[in-house]
Symmetry: C2
Subunit: 262 residues, 2 copies
DNA sequence: CGCAGACTTGACAACCCTCAATTATTGTGG
DNA sequence: CCACAATAATTGAGGGTTGTCAAGTCTGCG
């Protein structure tokens, strides 16, 4: 427990989440501001295992407002995070200050793989809405005495999944035309919303056109034009950040075949 | 030991490496066809730890000829591999048969992260030269009784590294023009050769122009044209697969700035 | 020697980026 | 509450980078 307290205090020092200190002190007055091992295992879909000895663990929740930076490239990594509620974006910022969006984490996603290697985060994590995260200190699973075997295994699975998923995005950017990329993006978002129990037919995008463009390797104008094009074809309805998917099959079909081999 | 033998026999059944059976039987007659824990830890730069109890482990080496497939998407994953010698490519093959190159593993690299999640490989691994791999059965690090704590930790670090590295390739494909991508590719290959103790100034590319193009999100013609262009500028010399880097600084400079923010 | 695969080079067109102007939305201060 | 500024989104025109198609050369191998 002491280790956890220490880690939590360090997290408080991060930029943009200064309000955590307040929540930390008032923890007992708020519901859901700590999770136990069982709850965390449930969110990550880990079957209960030998972690009984760690049942005393409590994982702190932190809250941030829309626009806040949870961590920035270079920050020390002594914990990773599980999205408990809200929407975020991860990005890599090059030395000229240009940011490339890497992912849009949502409820249930585990964040912070980029910090595990060097104990410092490589990327930047920004809240696209008010968010609530569960803090998982590195010590919980990385100490040689740690009994969180099921967690470690699941962590590796999730990293493997993230790697393959990133490779698919690379495939998209490398081979598919703009229309197919935007279509796949919409379908992927739709599926994520469905998995979270929300409507997969109509939803609000939390990110800007520029974010989407950066994620897909396109400019914001191309994204906007493509969305307008889809709307003209009757595949979707668009009103700023509001999206309604009218003909999902149309979107799936329109993926132009990537230059078949001769 | 019995577990290891079993795993080895399963690996033998993979396509393209039928000769393993032969090597397996003749193991004692060949040098270096088995590695122990200490040797594997040295290759992966893991400090010795509590794995004394696993010292009895022996990791089988397998050899394949250039062009052989070590595994194919869908194959069962009961082991991952360390490149002991040679050059390979990993690729993802879509349902139309088009392959997207994901990486070019070389000596010291750990391969097979894509199989950890679902116990089946998602990608395809092909030898670009005669190769020798060390087989690391999943059981070695994934069993709840496994003592390979140092290995597991290093594995997570390497996966984290692979994730970030893949994100950088994504950044390249999404934002940089063709010339910058090819330049970065050459410099990256050069650095890898240097790290392996080979010359970083002149080397043979083991992959085709098409492979490079697929990796960078370009066509083979664009790759060829860009290399010729570099040669005309005096940055490199090119003769088919043979590359000589004359002016590495020139290559580094020519990375066009990705549209600075206004 | 001949063939298949790999590489080079050219011409042309298409897709997407750049630049620019306008409209819509959000946030802020009087 | 409204006016104003700042951010976000839409749409158009034009040009550049790169893909497509095609022809020719080089290399390695049976």
């Amino acid at each position: 427990m002491q280790i956890l307290q220490k880690t939590s205090n360090e997290v408080v020092e991060h930029r943009g989440i200064a309000e955590i200190g307040r929540y930390s002190r008032m923890a007992d007055n708020f519901p859901r501001l700590w999770s136990n091992v069982e709850q965390v295992y449930q969110i990550l879909r880990i079957e209960a295992d030998d972690s009984m000895g760690t049942d005393a663990y409590r994982f702190q929740h932190i809250k941030s407002r829309s626009g806040a930076r949870v961590y920035t490239g270079g920050d020390r990594c002594d914990a990773i995070f599980i999205v408990y509620a809200g929407f975020l974006k991860t990005s890599w910022i090059d030395k000229y200050g240009n940011e490339k969006i890497l992912d849009f984490p949502m409820k249930g996603d585990l964040i912070g793989f980029d910090g595990i290697e060097s104990k410092a985060f490589k990327n930047t994590l920004v809240a696209l809405s008010d968010i609530e995260l569960i803090v998982v200190p590195i010590e919980f699973f990385n100490g040689s005495g740690s009994k969180a075997h099921g967690f470690r295994r699941r962590l590796m699975e999730l990293m493997s999944q993230a790697l393959v998923s990133g490779q698919k995005v690379g495939y998209m950017m490398g081979t598919l035309p703009a229309e197919a990329r935007v279509a796949k993006f919409l379908l992927s978002i739709s599926q994520k919303f469905r998995a979270m129990g929300f409507s997969d037919k109509s939803f609000h995008l939390r990110m800007t056109r520029e974010d989407i463009g950066s994620y897909l390797g396109l400019t914001l104008e191309t994204v906007s034009r493509t969305l307008s094009g889809f709307a003209r074809c009757g595949f979707i309805r668009v009103d700023q950040k509001y999206i309604e998917i009218v003909d999902p099959d149309g979107l799936k079909m329109l993926r132009r075949l990537p230059a078949l081999k001769r």
